[in-house]
């Protein structure tokens, strides 16, 4: 049973924290301070138990079984699909394709839609803050088809520079757009871009990896045509992602992977693909993972995505203030300065300390942050760095975590100043 149904704003973070078994751990004798949710989130007990329960009581392959647990397993998968559709405002469960991760969803769009619709001379427009997952698949199909890749540049504070948007959109058939940067936390003006793209005759494939876990999502309002995200960043398990697409678009697209479950008929002479969503789900789907994702959606819905967002805005504001006050010029925090314009992800640079070294010292203090290029090398180049030290927050973090981060940064500054 969830203990969070009755919670009202603000979130009772202590109670939330208690729902996550890993957060009770100690690292090197100190309570863990987990600030790497942009890489993957921790999992509440209800999610772990849902999967255990699945394996212990109804584990069976789906779709073709008549016996009781096979039917229960099929229903569990389809209930998860329906819950996912509701969670993001999709107009039908048929619009929800379960993938292995967000990356597969983004590739599916590039290969299936791009393969069928892109022609030599067409252009695809990306932003310079995209994750490699929304870049490399477009490079791949572009090389095959002779398609031009263009880039929306960034402003000095890490926002999209839309000055030239209309010119950039000329001849563009698809826009690859991250709804929120996993490096700077920048929230992009999705609706403005989807409107402009549609006006220019282009579609938009949204990388919603960092968005869906943290903000209330309504794909209709965002105006996108496709959106991809991962279960593991939203309190769900590894091994599952979601591709949402407008039904008419998905319907018209050729299948991607071939195999069991995605066919209507196969003979020695050829084959006929199945209808949505089966068409895009070749092979045994991530069934237990879908059950886990469903539990994660229930968990987040129990808190309320509005409350999650408000909590993160408040905490991000507190973190920005704390770090600026305490470290002044010694620290650079990349990205927009206003909490309302960003998510709870911040890339830090400490004067004279490489991010990798910073993370190493922080680990001694049980503070888990991530150094590196965060799979966004083009953005690194814009920021003029090889790597950043990224701290990211979620619903289970609170001010004590920010304080612990500040303490550990202080220790690192001391360690490297001798």
């Amino acid at each position: 049973m969830s203990t969070i149904e009755e919670r009202t704003d603000p979130i009772d973070v202590a109670a939330v924290k208690a729902d996550f078994p890993l957060l009770a751990r100690e690292i090197k004798g100190r309570p863990i301070v987990y600030l790497d949710s942009a890489a993957t989130s921790q999992k509440p007990r209800s999610v772990i138990e849902a999967m255990t329960g699945y394996y212990e009581t109804i584990n069976a392959n789906v779709h073709r079984g008549v016996y009781e647990i096979a039917e229960a397993s099929t229903n569990a998968l389809e209930d998860a699909r329906a819950a996912t559709a509701r969670f993001i405002g999709a107009s039908s469960p048929n619009e929800i394709v379960f993938t292995k991760n967000a990356t597969e969803g983004l590739n599916l769009v590039a290969r299936s839609w791009g393969g069928a619709n892109l022609r030599s001379g067409d252009a695809v427009l990306l932003t310079q803050l995209e994750h490699h997952a929304n870049i490399v698949p477009w490079f791949q199909i572009a090389a095959e088809k002779g398609v031009e890749i263009r880039w929306i540049p960034l402003t000095a504070d890490g926002k999209l520079d839309l000055t030239d948007l209309d010119r950039l959109l000329d001849g563009v058939k698809m826009v690859g757009l991250s709804a929120m940067s996993n490096v700077t936390g920048t929230l992009t003006p999705v609706r403005r871009i989807t409107d402009a793209a549609h006006a220019a005759g282009a579609l938009v494939s949204l990388d919603a990896c960092q968005f869906v876990p943290h903000l209330p999502t309504d794909v209709a309002k965002l105006g996108a045509d496709f959106a991809s995200f991962s279960g593991h960043k939203m309190c769900g398990p590894t091994g599952i992602g979601v591709l949402w697409g407008r039904e008419a678009l998905l319907d018209a697209m050729p299948p991607f992977l071939g195999g069991g479950g995605m066919i209507l008929d196969v003979s020695l002479d050829g084959w006929i693909p199945a209808d949505l969503p089966a068409k895009f789900e070749a092979g045994t789907p991530p069934i237990a993972e879908a059950v886990g994702l469903h539990a994660a959606i229930d968990y987040l819905s129990g808190i309320g995505m509005d409350a999650v967002r408000r909590h993160e805005v408040t905490l991000t504001g507190y973190a920005l203030r704390t770090l600026r006050e305490r470290f002044g010029d010694q620290i650079t925090i990349h990205g927009p300065s206003e909490p309302a314009e960003r998510g709870g992800v911040m890339s830090l640079a400490m004067e004279g300390i490489h991010p990798h070294d910073l993370a190493q010292v922080l680990d001694e203090h049980a503070v888990c942050i991530r150094p590196g290029h965060h799979c966004a090398k083009p953005l690194m180049k814009v920021l003029g760095v090889g790597a950043t030290a990224r701290a990211s927050f979620y619903v289970y973090n609170d001010e004590t975590d920010v304080d612990a981060l500040a303490e550990a940064l202080d220790a690192a500054a001391g360690f490297f100043s001798f």
Partner: protein
């Protein structure tokens, strides 16, 4: 808990063992349509001969599958033969209404189906023997077996209308 006797009613087994209107019609002039249940491999072939005045003059059923899909096809053929296309459409709505499950549906079909049920009620269609298939609803996996022939028929009528 539903028992097997809810599913395998006497009349269903009778249609399974002695299928009505089994066979083929020469197509063209008749319309031939195939339907697959991709999950279990059931295949239904419907041959349709629709008069100029919109009456189903003749119908034949081919294919193979389980007792539910085969008996449903057989009962359907008996029920629609000699009826007008409009009457058949009302019957189809009524049948699919009966087959709708009002719990959480697998693929969003339920809502459409329950609307169909209401429209059918308005049509005041009498299902007759087809009522025997009502028990299938208690075995959701089998619903697609029962509706396969009706979906195939609907497709055939659409194709016949286009061709005509």
């Amino acid at each position: 808990m539903p028992g097997l006797e809810d599913l395998y009613r006497e009349i269903i087994l009778d249609h399974y063992r002695n299928p009505r209107n089994r066979g083929e019609l020469e197509a063209p002039p008749a319309t031939r349509v195939e339907g697959f249940n991709p999950l279990c491999g059931d295949e239904i072939v419907v041959y349709l001969d629709v008069d100029d005045d919109g009456t189903i003059a003749d119908i034949r059923i081919g294919g193979q599958g389980c007792s539910i899909s085969q008996s449903s096809a057989s009962m359907m053929s008996a029920a629609v033969k000699g009826k007008t296309v409009r009457e058949v459409q009302a019957l189809t709505r009524a049948f699919k209404g009966m087959m709708s499950i009002h719990e959480s549906s697998l693929d969003g079909e339920a809502d459409a189906d329950s609307e169909a049920a209401e429209e059918a009620a308005a049509d005041e269609v009498r299902l007759g023997d087809l009522e025997a298939l009502r028990g299938v609803v208690k075995f959701p996996v089998r619903i697609k077996c029962a509706t396969l022939s009706w979906n195939t028929l609907a497709q055939g009528l659409a194709e016949a209308a286009e061709a005509g």
